[in-house]
Symmetry: C2
Subunit: 340 residues, 2 copies
């Protein structure tokens, strides 16, 4: 199903790529244009814009009078794709600035933009994408959609500050972990879904709220699974090393659960190790993994992801059965079962 | 007149400061809030928001039926101040990112934000200001105003790229110099004026275009005068060292004019010196200043600034005489005659 699902969505993703290509044709400066193309066309799956388009379709289907046009005949307008692509620009802008902040060397297996072009063009290209994205959001979506998107950006930034201020906090609470996830990942995905509902007055208030809930839960589940893969993933499939989060001292749900539930010397072992240098932590990663297993950190995180996906799927209950709804349900299963 | 003018505008500037203070009261994260306050409340004269408010008043005056309310009784709505302050947020965001890019140590005599808080919070706070500014522009101003502001931001960034790509170009053309100025300085100031006209449908198309022209010309004049002060200013008044532009190898109008007009060994002297190390250039700064004088680089730039200010003043001719128009005319004289 998963592979089929992505194949099924391939033409939509290609149309989004097409739209994105046209949007930046008019950039006068060749270097700016190069940085932006490097940042945007990097083999991304276009999940956020796809969600916007699918959620808009879901609301459009609700309006088909019985016996009239079939779901397959609904033609989404070009403007919807242009609006949907805004989420890719914002995502791209935020990755550009993140890579500068983290001094990243690579991104998706390619050299990171900052190591190709240097810091200055990358900061500025991020700002440019940001400004274009907000302008397009207003021009195509109107003030309400633009305000929703503006809110998602400020959520992301506030969450980055929260994360920055709790770096090195070994006793991080689950609440704090989820607060960061909500701001950094879930808010933009939830907004991508909500905006699909808001587009062209497609959905009513209840439908838009349901789509937002679906996207928020999907985004949280996505990140929890990501955090699980960092401990349990197959490097050949994920394409990234296992154990990075622990080596960097990043507290994610499996470890948080283990630290909060471990007793006596097990707890001391974990907390002491988190104080050690990176190479010391690396040497004992296998033991840590076993310790998290012992305190059910992985199954706890797994169950959390499952619950979130259930929440996402249930949020769609208010929509009638349709192929589009099946695709959205399928996407949430994909998020849960992905191995990369 | 100049001092009187700024004193006259002091209550307006204070009201803008007040509005700015309220706008960011709701930031949840204390560090983010601190960075933003540090960046915004630094003794700036609030010229851009003042221009928005004044231009909006100018259009409102046009609508007073003869014999009715006096100009002094016009009360600008709170929303106009909130919209006007957007230009201060954008200006602030751009300074934050510029200081990171330039590894700046100081800004307006205080430690630069990046040297107080570090690079990460400053990049993120710039993004936050940016997002809030665009959202406010849409919410208060509507789609047209928001698009104008979005265009000003992308102009600024394209100009930064143009400047980046011509760094070290000793034979920089005047055309290139003005293209950078237009994007980096004039576009945002022109937009601040235009938005005053667009606010609440205050001005018609012709009036908005006139205000834009006024602001563009004022912005260009401002920067040309800035470049003159860098050679001829009194350090005690400007508060910054003289000759910085030449030491950094930055080609500004007086020097561009001199290089383009110098002959024989004078020309060779200038071009060779621009290839030398910074300390070599510093040692011969006095000679350079005399050489620019010899080829009338300063008077050329001065006349250019005067012409630009005339253009700005003439653009206001379509408006009836009023105190507000006098203030705007006075501001352009202030830009021309300022010594800091």
């Amino acid at each position: 199903m998963n592979k089929d699902l992505l194949t099924l969505l391939q033409p939509e993703a290609a149309r989004i790529d097409d739209t994105m290509g046209h949007e930046f044709e008019a950039i006068g400066n060749s270097l700016l244009s190069e940085v932006i193309h490097y940042a945007l066309f990097n083999g991304g799956k276009r999940i956020r814009p796809l969600l916007t388009v699918l959620c808009a379709s879901l609301c459009a289907i609700e309006k088909i009078p019985e016996g009239f046009a079939a779901e397959e005949d609904l033609e989404a307008p070009e403007d919807l794709y242009r609006l949907a692509a805004v989420f890719e620009y914002l995502h791209g802008a935020s990755l550009l600035h993140d890579d500068v902040i983290d001094h990243a060397k690579t991104r998706r297996g390619k050299p990171a933009a900052n190591s190709v072009f240097g810091v200055t063009p990358v900061i500025l290209a991020g700002d440019f994408l940001h400004a274009r994205a907000m302008t397009l959001a207003g021009e195509i979506g109107g003030v309400r959609i633009q305000a929703a998107i503006g809110g998602a950006i400020t959520d992301m930034i506030e969450a980055e500050f929260l994360q920055m201020q709790t770096v090195g906090e070994k006793r991080l609470s689950e609440e704090n972990y989820f607060a960061v996830l909500r701001g950094k990942t879930a808010s933009l995905i939830g907004t991508a879904c909500e905006v699909g509902g808001l587009f062209g007055k497609g959905g009513d208030e209840k439908q838009c709220a349901a789509l937002r809930l679906y996207g928020d839960a999907l985004g949280l589940a996505f990140q929890v699974v990501d955090d699980l893969l960092d401990y349990l993933g197959d490097e050949k499939k994920t394409g990234k090393g296992v154990g990075n989060d622990f080596l960097e001292g990043k507290m994610t749900l499996p470890l948080i659960h283990a630290v909060n539930n471990a007793q006596g010397e097990d707890r001391t072992f974990l907390l002491d190790l988190l104080d050690q240098e990176k190479d010391k932590r690396a040497a004992r990663f296998e033991e840590v993994r076993m310790m998290i297993e012992k305190y059910r950190g992985f199954s706890y995180a797994r169950e959390m992801a499952e619950t979130l996906v259930e929440t996402a799927v249930e949020a769609l209950d208010i929509f009638q059965e349709s192929r589009t709804r099946q695709v959205l349900t399928g996407l949430s299963q994909y998020v849960l079962n992905r191995q990369k």
